[in-house]
Amino acid sequence: MLYVWLIAPFAEFEFMRRALVGSFALALGAPPVGVFLMLRRMSLIGDAMAHAILPGAAIGFLLAGLSLFAMAGGGLIAGFLIAIGAGIIARTTALKEDAALAAFFLISLALGVTIVSVRGTNVDLLHFLFGSVLAIDDPTLMLIVSITSVSLVILALIWRPLVIECVDPGYLRSVSRAGGPAHIAFLALVVMNLVGGFQALGTVLAVGIMMLPAVISRFWARDITLMIGVAVGAAAVSGYAGLLISYHANLPSGPAIILVAGALYLLSVLFGPVSGLVWLAVPRRHLEA
């Protein structure tokens, strides 16, 4: 019985196995980046970046049709350009980085919509906005897995400056000049993981697999390493459970995955040991002594 519910769909169908591998790969790469975004109070940057990637993907589509590498490459280039452009404007003008990014992503989104509509094919925009985790073929899987691997290596390299900058940016500036390059590398990681995620989940939901596990982890751990562990675990569980729900309950897969993550988030808000609402309501005994 348990086998029929939990394992049989994956045993019977190759597309389910591919979808599962794809979501596990995403679960390894994106949530750690999300944790750092959250700790640096940049949680909404992921959303802005996701929209910024659209015109790049659209231009790639315009040049090479529905080619995976043209669209992913276009998305990467557009994302990098906008991350670097916003960084430069933030450092040289009075504008803050979030405002600079907001301006860029709005321009970028409008440009993307224009490019896609001018082309006027029957491949509609929804295609870009909501990819399909059920349609992962070999090249897509390779792309996602490569992005995850590269992303983990880079994260390991810039780990120390990143952590210090989260805690005390002033201290980092006083002892080292790694802050700037690390920041750029980190934004590059955000872009890369979103491009990987949008092959499977679409540009909008890719942000979900990055940010939701990260904010979930905040309710379960105080230590960054532990938080990342929790985030990766939550993302993997969401991927697996989301696919099963999509299979049994006949729901679209991408949204199902993100909704599971959303449900985990609500549970964490209530019951998470770190500042969960239920724990806050219970009077703390050790304070009474």
């Binding site: 059920l134 349609a135 999509s246 006949n250 729901l251």
Partner: protein, 302 residues
């Protein structure tokens, strides 16, 4: 004062324009609702008739939204051809609104209608308007076009009848070709799973079963269950080919094909012709193109 005079002048110009055009151009204007109908009219009308299709190549006549230019063309037309059988729900109001005095010819008059499942109301059925997919029915279309043109322009009677006769002979030849191509496919392999709902008449006339994927809505994103169901169905019924253009992601179709061993069909033309340079620029090209796509997918490993 000034503006009123300008308006009057503009109105006068508008009224005068069609008349002036007619003098410069002795050919009569016929308006057809779809590019396929326009092709029939062009073949029968020859050089006596100018043909305009309201829904152009690659357009969808089911959901077309007419433009003011369409109303103007209908108003100027000497004759209007429509498919009927519920294909162009938007057209009757457009014809009334245009105020045209041109006769409206329903070319499916005399075609035995088929029923098909209603997409919006599962369990009910509606009249299938895609009768042109059977060449025998297309010949009824051509006869109706001929009679309509003769009635609207009696001086061209001899030309229209001669044109129609030679075109009907070409259609007979294409029908023979279609039957020959399909006869070469083993009978047990003449099964296609498709989300196209336009091939009911074709299947009934030439003996190919077009099977709809069970319980899959074509406009929404498929769930894992939908995909699993299609795969099971293809395995169980041993369907050799899938034509699933409507499924949004081509990679998903490849995935289904890889898991079932079914061949992926190419692009089909059902409701509209392709661009002039495309593979289905005329009705005859379209029928040839489609039947060869079916045969290519169904022939199986040689």
């Amino acid at each position: 004062m000034m503006t009123r005079r300008l308006l009057l002048a503009a109105l006068a110009a508008l009224i005068a324009a069609p008349a002036a055009g007619e003098e410069a151009h002795p050919r009569k204007l016929a308006v057809a609702s779809t590019s396929i109908l326009a092709d029939f009219v062009r073949n029968v009308g020859g050089d006596r008739i100018d043909v305009k299709a309201l829904v152009g190549p690659n357009g969808d006549a089911h959901v077309y939204s007419p433009t003011p230019g369409d109303a103007k063309e209908i108003a100027e037309a000497a004759i209007v051809f429509v498919n009927g059988l519920g294909l162009e729900g938007w057209l009757p109001r457009l014809i009334t609104a245009s105020g045209t005095k041109a006769p409206v010819v329903v070319v499916t008059t005399g075609v035995p209608p088929r029923k098909m499942p209603d997409e919006e109301h599962p369990g009910r059925s509606v009249t299938d308007p895609h009768a042109w997919q059977s060449i025998a029915d297309a010949k009824i279309y051509v006869a109706n076009v001929r009679d309509g043109l003769v009635a609207a322009d009696p001086t061209g009677k001899a030309a229209y009848e001669a044109n129609a006769q030679s075109y009907l002979a070409k259609l007979d030849a294409v029908e023979n070709e279609v039957r020959t191509v399909i006869a070469a496919i083993p009978a047990e392999r003449r099964k296609i799973i498709t989300t196209h709902d336009a091939f009911g008449y074709f299947g009934a006339a030439y003996g190919i079963s077009f099977i709809a994927p069970e319980g899959v809505s074509t406009d929404s994103e498929p769930s894992a269950k939908d995909v699993a169901r299609i795969i099971r169905q293809i395995r169980k019924q041993k369907i050799p080919a899938v034509f699933l253009e409507n499924v949004s992601d081509p990679r998903l179709i490849e995935q289904i094909a890889r898991e079932t061993g079914a061949a992926i069909g190419g692009k089909l033309y059902s409701d509209a012709l392709s661009e002039p340079a495309g593979p289905a620029a005329t009705y005859i090209d379209m029928m040839r193109h489609n039947v060869h796509e079916f045969a290519k997918a169904l022939r199986g490993p040689a």
